[in-house]
């Protein structure tokens, strides 16, 4: 197992910049999720690590060794494709054993290791079957088996759960994480699904337009988003933005939202006057009749354990996640209160989060 280090990696296809000067390190045994919408460069980044695509500039180190221009076959990595790419002319056993065959492993050992791997993934009963007749989950496990049988330096996975139906995806998320806990393989996992990333990853890199917007643990990403993009992409419903016009002074502990003072974490920098946004997660909003921030109920969505209530305020529609006990009438006037320590302030022009005491250490990608 090993460490993957990416330094200033860049990839251009003609005039289109797919990946812009990205740098990050995946430590030994760590599970990194590259998260972003389609076309954000996450798959291209993964393919460069694999050696399926050559970078325009930058370096890739595997265990300290510069492999930037090494062949894919010489990198000792495993790749799980979105559509699995199981060899249709081979049965399950031969699919899993195929990587070992290239290394000249003896037949008896191939058999032993394929069987061991199959047992680990609970597919030892279908080794003789043709891969074309397999169900989605089994195909997924065979693809994983082919990846882990070789005990490679690291695993790269390109949306491996993308084609499974929702119910089964959840099962596989647990299985994948459990597998990772058992074999502790350095893993880079590409996905556009924030739930998968949050549920499995040790670290998440949120990408947009070829740029890593934020790199951090799921908690950091969720609690201290480095940009409006990240704040909007993560969370369901996403973070609310309440816009206001102001400048900020370092050390400020409150802002004015439509003339109402709102306590915020201590600001860590000076900001010139301009359009700003207060970021509030739906679960950090409470209804309070005494609050001067007023709004009219616009709609609600019952979720069982809680409900999402949309409120139209002077600063736009705000969604709050509140207890399901209380029911609201449409148009009913409510007061909103925020958990001050959890608020974030963004500069709308650049989209970046203003440094503040709880997110002072947030790393920008």
């Amino acid at each position: 197992m090993s460490e993957i280090k990416i330094v200033n990696l860049r990839k251009q296809f003609g005039d289109f910049v797919a990946v812009e000067d990205s740098s990050f390190t995946v430590e030994d045994g760590e599970f990194l999720a590259l998260l972003g919408p389609s076309g954000c460069g996450k798959t291209t980044t993964l393919r460069m690590i694999a050696g399926l695509e050559l970078p325009t500039s930058g370096k890739i180190y595997l265990d300290g060794e510069d492999v930037t221009f090494n062949r894919a076959s010489a990198r000792d990595i495993a790749f799980v494709f979105q559509l699995f790419a199981l060899y249709p002319h081979m049965n399950v056993f031969r699919n899993i054993g195929f990587p070992l065959l290239s290394q000249g492993v003896a037949k008896a050992e191939i058999r032993a290791r394929v069987e061991e791997t199959a047992k680990l993934l609970r597919i030892d009963h279908i080794l003789g079957r043709s891969v074309s007749g397999l169900a989605g989950g089994d195909r997924q496990r065979v693809a994983l088996g082919r990846a882990i049988v070789r005990r490679p330096k690291c695993f790269l996975m390109d949306e491996p759960l993308g084609t499974l139906d929702a119910e089964f995806r959840e099962v596989m998320v647990h299985e994948l994480r459990e597998l990772h806990n058992r074999i502790h393989a350095t893993t880079v996992y590409v996905t556009h699904d924030q739930h998968e990333a949050m549920a499995m990853a040790d670290k998440i890199a949120v990408m947009n337009h070829g740029v890593i917007e934020q790199y951090g643990t799921p908690q950091e990403i969720y609690n201290r988003p480095a940009s409006m993009y990240v704040a909007d992409f993560i969370g369901s419903p996403p973070m609310n933005f309440m816009r206001f016009n102001s400048g900020l002074k370092r050390g400020t502990r409150s802002i004015f939202l439509d003339g109402v003072e709102v306590a915020v974490p201590e600001m860590g920098e000076d900001v010139a006057p301009g359009e700003m946004a207060l970021g509030v997660r739906p679960e950090h909003i409470r209804f309070s009749d005494r609050s001067p921030i007023r709004g009219a109920v616009y709609g609600s969505e019952y979720l069982g354990t809680n409900q999402i209530v949309a409120v139209e305020t002077a600063a736009g529609i705000v969604k709050a996640r509140v207890s399901a006990d209380r029911s609201f009438r449409l148009g009913e006037t409510v007061g909103l209160e925020f958990s001050s320590a959890k608020l974030a302030v963004f500069d709308c022009a650049s989209g970046r989060a203003i440094a503040s005491s709880p997110n002072a250490e947030t790393r920008h990608g």
Binding site: A50, G51, L52, R71, A72, S73, R75, I77, A78, F79, F81, L83, A85, Y87, P88, H89, F98, P99, S102, Q103, S132, R146, R150
Partner: protein, 318 residues
């Protein structure tokens, strides 16, 4: 069959009447196309007088005379001389003597047939091998001027081959390739390779790149990945392409008649020459043609599954 026509194409299941009409049309068409074949096989077992009788005889006494005449050369002898010979050694001997002739030796049919086999299969093998590699290259790599190159390759088929026969004839004479098997193999390969590249590019485009990428990550070189992963999946396309190439090379007449005359002569220009040997020997010609049809028939039947799937151009892949 059942697995091929269950999918996609027709949304509405045809009614029994429609099916019956369609079946009738297909059977009728098959009968029409089979009449010349039946004619050839029947003529090959007729006696020479029966073969030219009008109206054509449907009922007749079959004879092997046509085949005997095809395989042998004969000389006319006086009845006295034939009487003086020892007893005939086989059916052909007997038939020949009844026509006041004796067998002088074997004909050139089998050597010519052998030339056809070597040249047709040799050129098909070369055309399909080169075509597969070229098609893979065009399909997977950013080839500079790929579109122009592909058009150029296709353009070699835009005029009848015979239009370039004279230059090729002169060129071949210069290079000593006239009347050689190698010359014919190269020529048919050159004609077929354009067809092979275009057909196979379509098939290889259909094979997802992920398979090779997976193989390369699994520790194989690109060539190994091509060999172990792409080729096995391209067999359908390769088989279909091979049949088309083989049929062309096997049936080709114009170049063969121009460029081969002796040791490398193929069967198509040889068969008409049978007529000249002792009157209009239609049964012998028909026998030669009937045997000539067999390899293509066998090859097509052996590969018919691939051919059927191949004609739909990978539409039924999985």
């Amino acid at each position: 069959m059942s697995s091929t026509n269950t999918t996609a194409h027709s949304v509405v299941e045809p009614t029994p009447t429609v099916k019956r009409i369609a079946g009738a049309i297909v059977i009728l068409y098959a009968l029409v196309t089979m009449v010349p074949l039946a004619w050839i096989f029947l003529t090959s077992i007729k006696s020479p007088p029966d073969s030219i009788s009008y109206p054509p005889k449907i009922v007749f006494t079959p004879t092997l005379e046509g085949f005997c005449n095809l395989f042998t050369t004969r000389t006319r002898q006086t009845p006295d001389y034939i009487q003086s010979l020892p007893a005939p050694t086989g059916t052909c001997d007997e038939i020949t003597r009844s026509r006041n002739m004796v067998i002088a030796g074997p004909s050139n049919y089998w050597p010519r047939f052998g030339n056809s086999l070597v040249i047709a299969f040799g050129s098909t093998f070369l055309a399909v091998s080169l075509g597969t590699l070229a098609a893979y290259g065009f399909s997977r790599f950013r080839v500079p001027l790929a579109d122009d190159l592909l058009f150029f390759i296709l353009s070699t088929r835009m005029m009848p081959p015979i239009a370039v026969a004279i230059p090729i004839y002169l060129m071949y004479r210069q290079f000593g390739l006239s009347d050689t098997a190698l010359g014919m193999i190269l020529l048919y390969t050159a004609v077929n390779v354009s067809l092979a590249v275009w057909l196979l590019k379509g098939f290889i485009d259909e094979i997802p790149r992920e398979y090779e990428e997976a193989a390369m990550i699994d520790g194989y070189t690109r060539l190994q990945a091509f060999w172990k992963v792409v080729l096995p999946q391209a067999t359908t396309g390769i088989a279909a392409t091979a049949i088309f190439c083989l049929i062309f090379a096997w049936n080709e007449y114009a170049f063969a008649v121009l460029l081969t005359s002796g040791s490398a002569q193929t069967a198509p220009p040889f068969i008409p020459t049978i007529i000249g040997e002792g009157g209009q020997d239609w049964p012998a010609v028909a026998a030669g043609t009937a045997i000539f049809l067999v390899p293509i028939l066998v090859f097509t039947i052996v590969l018919r599954k691939q051919l059927l799937r191949g004609i739909t151009f990978g539409a039924v892949r999985k």
